[in-house]
């Protein structure tokens, strides 16, 4: 066997049903670890946690791409092989179907009585008339018919195989749509505080995940401002604290200079703008502070986004840095409870409700010195680089602030005033050109499945010959791919004349035994 021989052998193996089956099960099996281990694409923080808790194991898991299962080379290998196998199977079958549809229905077999469905009767019509009558009946039932002298051959139900092929081709199209999205789509996340806005450009996003072929210059140039944010919670009963609704009132422009439009952003109701979609996926609090430095100047007067540490009652953590404070820069590490209350054991403060019934801030630590922000390295707004900072010792009772309370730093280093709070929405902007193609492919897949399960290809043959007694003997035979239907019996009843005296055999339907698929 030469090289081509081997290649042909390999291709035949790959496109065989057994290989396809094994690959299908492998894809299913390969997905399992993706649900067991945290995945970078969905929850990178959980992956980091895994690395902290068991660094050795994590290192090995990472080498096997178990934190990126669905982007792993071995996963890609399995599904690409599966889809190649699928294409190698489906495309030739599509040609075959095309051939079948164009070819005439096969001629009547010699002995119709041997077919799984068969019947016989006599009629006073001549053989030619009987054949013509049968052709008409079959034609009326939308069979394709051909008359060959004393017999008529008919076939119907190509939609079954067409549906089957459509389903498989739709699966291939779906894969292409997903690929399209991962090449040309992008996703950006940001936290937007009430009263502020953003433009759809990379600079505004806390997190930006572009497809491989996305040019950051090509992002749709819309602008969005969050005018107001409301969150409502259930206030009584066993479900107290469960959110009952979030709303973000937006003003947006399709492009700079375009007319301003308004939209109420809600969960399940994203904003469609210029091909991209803006989603509301979460929310949090942004307490507002006024910081006065040692020289008496206002070094900071704004809202600071705090990150919820738990989603139930929104206990949140945040960091305030004042690069403008002189002579020394200041930094604060704080907690925020929308509704502060005593913990069950009475020793700690906890949040007892996610709504702002008793907004309270606690200063966990205060620093003065150099924030180390001038060295050119980007610094997270949620972390303090304390290498060049000195911790300021705070008196215990001064640490907890209600709205309007001030914290005087010892030694006249400055003042922190908790002036109020705003809310922010966690927004995600996505653009995915594969979205609509994927939907169309999905819809076609279901349509194809239904077609392939509902419609079966079947053939009916009728042959008429002159009998000994002067009457015409008509034989009818039927062949169905898959389980037989009652259609054949209906056709037989329709064909048989009222004056038929012969014993008409009908197809055997005593037990609902589905016959296996009939090989052609």
């Amino acid at each position: 066997m030469g090289v081509t021989g081997w290649l042909r052998w390999g291709w035949r193996q790959l496109t065989s049903m057994r290989t396809a089956l094994v690959l299908l099960f492998l894809v299913a099996l390969a997905s399992v670890p993706g649900s067991i281990f945290p995945q970078r694409g969905m929850s990178p923080e959980k992956v980091n946690e895994y690395f902290e808790n068991s660094p050795e194991l994590a290192k090995w898991l990472d080498r096997l791409s178990l934190f990126d299962v669905f982007a792993a080379p071995w996963f890609a290998a399995v599904y690409l092989l599966l889809f190649t196998s699928l294409a190698g199977c489906v495309v030739p079958r599509a040609w075959q179907l095309y051939g079948h549809v164009r070819a005439r229905p096969p001629k009547a077999p010699q002995r119709l009585g041997r077919l799984p469905q068969h019947g016989e009767f006599t009629t006073s019509a001549t053989p030619d008339e009987a054949v013509e009558a049968a052709r008409k009946v079959l034609r009326a039932r939308r069979f394709r018919t051909v008359v060959d002298g004393d017999s008529v051959a008919s076939e119907k139900g190509y939609l079954g195989e067409a549906g089957n092929l459509l389903f498989h081709l739709a699966m291939l199209a779906l894969l292409c749509a997903i690929g399209l999205g991962s090449l040309f789509g992008y996703r950006g996340n940001l936290l937007l505080t009430e009263g502020t806005g953003f433009s759809n450009s990379v600079a505004f996003y806390d997190e930006y995940k572009p497809g491989h072929l996305v040019d950051p210059e090509d992002l749709a140039p819309f602008q969005v401002t969050l005018d107001d944010f409301k969150a409502e919670f259930i206030t009584s009963g066993p479900q107290t604290g469960q959110p009952s609704g979030f709303w973000g009132d937006l003003t947006y422009r399709e492009k700079p200079g375009a007319a301003e439009k308004r939209y109420t952003l809600r969960v399940n109701h994203p904003l469609d703008v210029d091909g991209a979609k803006v989603y509301l996926l979460g929310h949090g609090y942004a307490p507002t502070f006024k910081v006065t430095d040692a020289e008496g100047n206002v070094a900071f007067n704004d809202a600071v986004q705090f990150i919820p540490r738990e989603t139930g009652n929104l206990t949140s953590e945040g960091v305030l840095k004042t690069p403008d404070a002189r002579p020394e820069q200041l930094a604060f590490q704080m907690m925020f409870w929308p509704t502060a209350g005593a913990s069950r054991d009475g020793v700690a403060i906890v949040s007892t409700f996610p709504g702002p019934l008793n907004p309270t801030v606690a200063v966990m630590a205060a620093f003065k010195g150099d924030l180390n922000m001038d060295n050119g390295n980007a610094q997270s707004v949620y972390e303090i680089d304390s290498t060049k900072l000195e911790m300021v010792k705070l008196p215990e009772e001064a640490k907890v602030l209600k709205v309007g309370d001030k914290l005087e730093l010892p030694g006249g280093a400055g003042t922190l005033e908790f002036t109020g709070f705003k809310e922010y929405g966690a927004l995600t902007v996505t653009y995915d050109p594969g979205r609509v193609p994927a939907l169309v492919a999905g819809a076609l897949a279901v349509l194809g499945l239904v077609g392939s399960f509902m419609v079966r290809r079947r053939r009916v043959w009728v042959r008429a010959r002159a009998g000994d007694d002067g009457r015409t003997v008509v034989e009818v035979g039927g062949l169905t791919l898959g389980a037989a239907t009652a259609e054949f019996d209906e056709i037989l009843t329709e064909l048989r004349p009222d004056d038929d005296e012969g014993r008409a055999e009908r197809s055997d339907d005593s037990e609902p035994v589905p016959t296996g698929p009939i090989k052609e």
């Binding site: 049903m17 057994r18 396809a20 089956l21 299908l24 099960f25 894809v27 299913a28 997905s31 399992v32 993706g34 649900s35 067991i36 995945q39 694409g41 969905m42 929850s43 959980k46 299962v69 669905f70 997903i178 996703r187 259930i234 009963g237 066993p238 479900q239 469960q242 959110p243 009952s244 609704g245 979030f246 809600r266 969960v267 399940n268 109701h269 994203p270 979609k277 989603y279 996926l281 995600t428 996505t430 995915d432 979205r435 994927a438 939907l439 999905g442 819809a443 897949a445 279901v446 499945l449 239904v450 399960f453 389980a483 037990e511 609902p512 035994v513 589905p514 698929p517």
Partner: protein, 311 residues
């Protein structure tokens, strides 16, 4: 907001349905035990019937069967009533948490069974379907129970009516297919053994042939496989509205895909030489195990976006 009386009525209706299903289960069992074996049935037909002295037990059998089906229909009415009253009590679609979801799947399973009784003479499945449904409802009431209440904003979408309903119908159908497959496996083994010699009599002789059981399982699964596919696609559309992507390999998505792949494998395997029969049936059993794991296990073991279960 929540009508406590109606919610209480709903709970009582579930209990009533369970009781009737248990009664039906015994009815089906009595029907099965008193039914003739296939060999006897053939003998009856062969002897040409009406004058045979077996008239009496034949009549008693019919009554057990009719009684059991009656109890099932009655139980189904209470069961469906429980779902409807729960929905009215909470003013939303009554399948937004695990308890409601399992109750609804059991309704779907009984519905699928009743359809098969009237369309394909599948009464013999009754006892086994009742066992599955009673276990399901029992587990829902004991471990998964959730007070009637409002849902989080993420679930307030008309897609819950489309996506979850499709998932429920599909799960109900898969359950009936699973029951038929579980009967097929020993029946097929027995028939194989029978070909070698005459084994001891067994209850299996009173069930239809392995071929019929296999056909029923195939029909149920073939019917609901597109429904499951549709449920996944509807879920993807909803995910695109709610989470900003139509597919993100959330554990629930991953496992619904696994279930899809395994059942797709089953449908192909059944028509493939070397996989037909036992192997294909085992694939379908694994598919159902994955379905159950997706339904319950994923919510318990994994953190994901489908965290509506309240567990």
């Amino acid at each position: 907001m929540v009508d406590a009386d109606l919610a209480g009525l709903s709970n009582n209706l579930v209990l009533g349905a369970v009781l009737l299903y248990v009664v039906a289960m015994f009815g089906y069992a009595a029907d099965l035990v008193s039914s003739p074996t296939r060999a006897e049935r053939r003998a009856l037909v062969g002897a040409g019937g009406p004058e045979l002295p077996q008239e009496e037990p034949e009549k008693a059998r019919a009554d057990w069967g009719r009684f059991a089906i009656g109890m099932t229909v009655l139980g189904w009415l209470l069961h469906a009533g429980a779902m409807v009253t729960r929905g009215i009590a909470v003013e939303r679609w009554p399948w937004a948490n695990m308890y409601e979801f399992v109750v609804a799947i059991c309704v779907a399973a009984v519905t699928a069974y009743l359809v098969l009784v009237f369309k394909a003479k599948a009464k013999f499945l009754g006892a086994f379907v009742m066992v599955a449904v009673v276990i399901g409802l029992g587990a829902a009431t004991i471990w998964l129970y959730q007070e009637a209440g409002a849902v989080v904003p993420a679930l307030e979408s008309y897609w819950i009516a489309i996506h979850v309903t499709a998932a429920i119908i599909a799960s109900g159908g898969f359950t009936v297919g699973f029951v038929a497959t579980l009967l097929y496996l020993p029946a097929a083994r027995r028939e194989a053994r029978k070909a070698e010699g005459e084994p001891k009599p067994s209850l299996l002789d009173r069930l239809p042939s392995a071929n019929v059981l296999d056909g029923l399982a195939y029909k149920s699964i073939m019917f609901v496989f597109p429904v499951w596919t549709f449920a996944i696609i509807a879920g993807a559309i909803w995910a695109d509205e709610a989470w900003g992507r139509y597919w993100g390999w959330d554990p629930k998505e991953t496992w619904s895909f696994i279930v899809f792949a395994i059942y797709a494998g089953y449908l192909h395997a059944r028509a493939t030489a070397g996989w037909k029969g036992r192997k294909a049936a085992v694939v379908s059993v694994i598919g159902y195990a994955a379905l159950l794991f997706n339904l319950v296990g994923v919510n318990i073991f994994f953190e994901g976006l489908h965290s509506y279960s309240g567990m």
